[in-house]
Symmetry: C2
Subunit: 334 residues, 2 copies
Amino acid sequence: MPELRKDPILGRWIIIAKERSRRPTDFVIREQIVKGGFCPLCPGNENTTPEEVLAYGRNPSHPPNSPGWEIRVVPNKYPALVIEGDLNKEGVGIYDKMNGIGAHEVIVESPNHEDTFINLSPDRLLYVFWAFRDRLVDLGRDPRFKYVMVFKNSGKDAGASLEHSHSQLVALPILPRMIVSELDGSLSYYKYKERCIFCDIIRQELREEIRVVCENDHFVTIMPFAPRSPFEMWILPKKHSSSYITTDDVSFIALAKIFSETMKRLDACIPDVPYNFVLHGAPMHSEPLDYFHWHFEIRPKLTTTAGFEWGSGFYINPMPPEDAAVYMREAFEK
Amino acid sequence: MPELRKDPILGRWIIIAKERSRRPTDFVIREQIVKGGFCPLCPGNENTTPEEVLAYGRNPSHPPNSPGWEIRVVPNKYPALVIEGDLNKEGVGIYDKMNGIGAHEVIVESPNHEDTFINLSPDRLLYVFWAFRDRLVDLGRDPRFKYVMVFKNSGKDAGASLEHSHSQLVALPILPRMIVSELDGSLSYYKYKERCIFCDIIRQELREEIRVVCENDHFVTIMPFAPRSPFEMWILPKKHSSSYITTDDVSFIALAKIFSETMKRLDACIPDVPYNFVLHGAPMHSEPLDYFHWHFEIRPKLTTTAGFEWGSGFYINPMPPEDAAVYMREAFEK
């Protein structure tokens, strides 16, 4: 069973996930993405993954874990956290630990091995965003889970280990530090101004138009004022909402459109760039929050985190977001 | 001039360091460490670096910026922050920024291009630790600087761009987030227990001996209970002290010895591993703090930070520190 451990000074939790015993030198051989060869996420290989928890598009007369699906969600075969068991929080001298209870799932975004997230059709992308919602709703029923982190690693340098287009989610028994900081920061602003800081950011960005990448009726993509790395972007709903799962059907279509446009612009600027995206939303079981605003954060993986960033939490970014936004807006004009 | 910008939600500062204009696709070509060829840090090439701020070992009758030195400290030619100017804090709508005032220096650890930090003699290593102290004392006289971050990037994957063995320091006009969190966390513990949490950690680790790597009369190297990555290590003085610069001469010799032993053990476990280390100490101009304890943190760069870690601040580590500590203790027995 994986173990959650808390740093006693920083309150930062880490997961010790000892999936398989490794010798020190095993770490040096970086995992490569296998090109060609056997793919456990392809149709026909459903029996090589754990049993699916969701599938769209399969003929209802066909059994689960058979081909014919459009989107399929399965537990991760090498999970960082496991779903069965109790938390069993305990102290170890001055330290604290608990069992690594949680869920770790893989959202297979297409049956076609050659598809990439950037080239998914708007319809298929819509399915992906529905799948995120459906899994968030389902996992939200488990009182052990405080937060579900939805994210994507694309490209080896961004941490992907499988070529077949997929995203992931991890359900956590504690609120992650980054979300706590965002909630604290936006609550401080709300207490002072009685306005959502994200709503204020959207208003200022749409007025100034210097860090806006693209927009539609429901969403806007901006470069944040203080990005940690070049071409970092946030996609935010224009209408205030703290929770992704309350998004309505019309807005989901708009989300698929702006996400597709954003990623196609990025691909035109920096072809085949490795990237991550992460969904930020209110904690599970939370009432609607006036001070917090759900959004996606997208990070192209272009810089190496070195000693300075690691030690300080302070990032050096060689590309002003105002310049990157110009490249993004003009991406299709080449 | 570089610019410091504050994320309005998280309070996290970033540095926009636009050293040279770059097109988006320039980021894809990762900088390689140049092997062979011209080295600006080698003796004879002193005129290709900015003017030195410190040198040990040169015959006093020879001029500055000439060969004959054992250790040399020079401003970084492409600094993340610049030393001249005023902070000029200002608001930009709801955002905050200030001029990128600071210092960014390179500590050249040896005149010999082939030397590596791991193979430096104890005497030479002692000079390196003295140089850290002397630069900290000197930069501490500038009231604009709140913190000086001393760190090393070794190997391309850990962010190094020059082969010649060197470490770096960045003097900052604000306290970095990571240090604020450490100070806050250790102060909370002190308020509750009236003891330094690091002293308590040292006591527990020396008693249990399961995460201790090595020790001498003055220092101990441990694997932290909740490490972010495999083989993360901390080197701490056994006697309480919040500030590196108060270290006495006998303790500096012991520090050079334990640092050398720690790195040689690491190299025996994982040859040529890329790594970072960072010095954590009290802020500049701080009185001695009963609740904070200076130390070095060492991180071998063995894992990729992917979407989950980036979005959550939550790390997944496949190697329990208790196992890694066994490998380290037995490193010389092979």
